[in-house]
Symmetry: D2
């Protein structure tokens, strides 16, 4: 029963129509394309899923739709966390009913300074006791301004319903620290494309990568070649996608990711308000990076 | 029709029973005591109202209960903001139905770096068009890591349904900047007790002050003496409550505020999880500060 | 012997020729103009004096030149601090020999996280024992990323050779805190033009203001009108210079300040490398702000 | 003439006697022990060399002493940077005269917000033209709050006198970015022990590691095993020293590093003021970490 989570998971985007309502038909189209790759599954509502802009009802419908329209063999991980323990339990158990296999729960963050070791323990333990499917911790300091300590992860890893962590850090020392302190059957997942190879070398079993929305093959290849011990080939791909990864995450965020999806034949569309669309010049820059990464001619 | 919002508003705390459910009876007791003061009204769900830990349904019930159990002359301002425009409109219009007079809407913050001038304009204008009661902007950088610019506030102030801002900054230059750039009938409210007097001197018309939960008379006196031109007396009180204000906001947050309420005969109780209770030593420190501020013997 | 430091002090800029050597003749010209105002004295080497770009020998010559070429009645405060206690003592005692009346000593900052209460106590007490003229603490968090606590200032204020603090914060609560905790004969000075009036209202006795390099009369008038109790007139001036003050400090820094000096007939010139000159568009913006502040037609 | 800098360099500490004067005899003792290892050379005045607390004269004497008392085959890299270009050139050429092989120059940082691409280019190009020995860039954001971009490093790498960078980041993506953008004969060095192995995997040629002051053999072994392709063995050592590395850098800084040197038979002693000594409890923690890392019985 170990390492269920080894592999690559795109945290899919939420497509919107021009009226800013969810475009479920476009979602299905994207999923039908993704299903052809050897992806381990999908994360519905990582950060770039824009869940913070959705109502509870919309979130539930998104999760159910993804489950319904993907291959049964693919895992569905639902991002259900918020500062509210009550709301997180409610949404998580709805996600379970809709067929999600795991929940991914972001660290609470509104009262940043209060998110001590004890506070995070109390938060996750309370959830893990009440949610009917296994829980994956989600650490993403650039959005939350909270950074869960390796010690806290270690303590949480002893709860049988807490099975892994997605850590979006680029700080490789933190990934080494966590891998070293948790049991073997606790899955550590890299959280951004720029650290996929070094993360695997540190002991991560896979990655939840925004980049996998536009470069699923490249992400899968890095993983495959790493597993096969072909490190130089893995590194060549890793280096090739580095600048692109930065553009569609740190630099241009969701709007950049969606814009690049449009250029590659997926449906990206615009982010929901208040996020702003890209300028034409920014799109051109992304196009150039797609070409350099050999994703576009 | 100008300056509706001149005066002092406590952002009330949400009382919980030992099972972490809302203690509505305790809420009513607190309100009956607060009603005896010359407060202008109440904010339900400022930051220390812990709204991030509540479900939508709980929030609506809190707002309705406050409206029902306070003097009709008191204004009720409901904090309804979240990153989601849809959810904010929904909750705000429910608040209006329950009798709230204004909504207080925090800046969206999850995608901090994306919260540009344009993004914040689009967010607030969209809300102001759809919410049936007047909107007050809420800027609280220490929690959101977003700081709305004076220029943005200025542009928003021209919308007839955006009537004021609560700015929790201690940066007095920012308060001067905003007061100078908005029309006279747009209300700027100080957002923490430590800047009440300097804020009034800058042109704020009042304050939404956590401190007013435990020292309503002192806050009202600073305001009154300022209005009467008795600056030295106002300053004496301002200085007297300075250390206490820091303890129940920056240093110990909600747990500190609630603990001091308990010491003064209000019902404070514990914060909801994941916030942690104070240590006995910390309570003792707060007790000493209450004594020094002459709120306790 | 109380309040030696009441009044306005421009932290003068260091003028450079086109070869980046100090332009002592230009310095004298500037000083001869400043001497006509009722300024209390000069700070040689506040942050915008660019002392970090000068060698020890250059610093000593600057201090000596300022003392020699200003009215005897003006106080000369020499900024002599660095992380090195040895170097600071050496430079401070050279400054004393050259006729400086006070030294202004910035908090050490390289090992930011190590600059605890104890570390700052040990630093300043060690200096105060060894420097032959009185010492003024200099707190400027935006450059040092260190913020001295009111408690630390309080403890230091009991040393007879530590006589004041220049605090460049715009956080008015911190100024109130410090004023409240130090003895009456310890001078608290506002450190930026945007907080001059609120700082005086908090109990500051004057200010060390970059703005006083270009608007000495306005700074002096705010102070004078405050002392005379003409608060509305003081506030009118305070508001008038607010946007300009931001441009020549936070937004454009030394290059902006020097550029505005050139526009007003002082010698500004360029900052030393690595600081970069302004773009023409930026200069135009400053020109407009000078006009709006009624310093230029 | 490529890759002069492949290998491990301890950035040595500066030993002080109880009167806080430099203990040159202790320095020689330490060096005589270090010389027995296969270290590539020494950095005099990395951050933990406490150069910010030394006068110019003391720095020159330290550099000369190290050169004089180490094996001729060892490279001596002198940390000579400060915000002042003039001072840096002066000190660097003195270091060259004293026999230093390279200078290591930290990014200027006082005017953090002004340290743009252009500013950093002008700084380093100006130095590289005037310093008689090759220059290594030193990026250490945790102390400077400045982070040099890969693009800037790339542009600087085309100057023949700029030959490498020590980057103390733990952000592995940044190391990949830099390695990818610079020519092969430009040396990228890891700057902290926690990223030695992943840094080498990214393409770093070695490391300047505080940890090498106490664990030279372990650092050398990680490097050696990496070169030999024995990644699992390298990783075992990397993981073994991870917690210790954190303690003697991020957590306890110079005081922690020196304290651990004392425990291992080197001379550590106390840091210079204003840095504070460790508490006994903190020393005990370090002792335990030394035992866990198998450096102490």
């Amino acid at each position: 029963m170990k390492h269920y989570l080894n592999g690559i998971f795109p945290p899919i985007t939420t497509p919107f129509n021009s009226d800013e309502e969810i475009a479920f038909d476009k979602l299905k189209l994207n999923l039908s394309r993704y299903d052809k790759f050897n992806l381990k599954g999908y994360v519905v509502f990582g950060s770039n899923g824009e869940s913070v802009f959705l109502t509870r009802e919309e979130k539930i419908k998104m999760i159910a739709t993804v489950r319904e329209h993907t291959d049964d063999a693919k895992l569905v991980i639902a991002g259900t966390g918020s500062d509210s323990i009550k709301e997180t339990i409610l949404l998580s158990n709805e996600a379970a009913k809709s067929g999600a296999d795991y929940v991914l729960v972001i660290t609470p963050s509104f009262f940043q300074k209060g998110m001590s070791h004890e506070a995070l323990l109390s938060y996750y333990l309370c959830l893990a006791d009440s949610i009917k499917i296994p829980l994956i911790i989600y650490n993403v300091t650039k959005f939350t301004n909270v950074n869960i300590l390796a010690e806290t992860v270690s303590e949480l890893s002893s709860h049988q319903n807490i099975v892994g962590i997605k850590n979006s850090t680029e700080n490789i020392a933190e990934l080494y620290e966590i891998v070293n302190i948790v049991p073997n059957n606790f899955s550590v997942l890299a959280g951004t494309g720029s650290v996929l190879l070094p993360g695997l070398q540190a002991g991560c079993v896979g990655g939840v990568l925004a980049l996998a929305n536009i470069a699923p093959k490249e992400c899968l290849d890095i993983h495959k070649k790493y597993v096969e011990g072909r490190f130089d080939e893995a590194k060549e791909i890793q280096n090739r996608i580095l600048a692109l990864n930065k553009a569609v995450t740190a630099t241009y965020g969701v709007a950049g990711l969606k814009s690049s999806m449009d250029m590659l034949g997926y449906y990206g569309g615009l982010p929901r308000k208040p996020l702003q669309p890209l300028e034409p010049k920014q799109k051109k820059e992304i196009e150039n990076l797609l070409i350099k990464a050999k994703l576009l001619n």
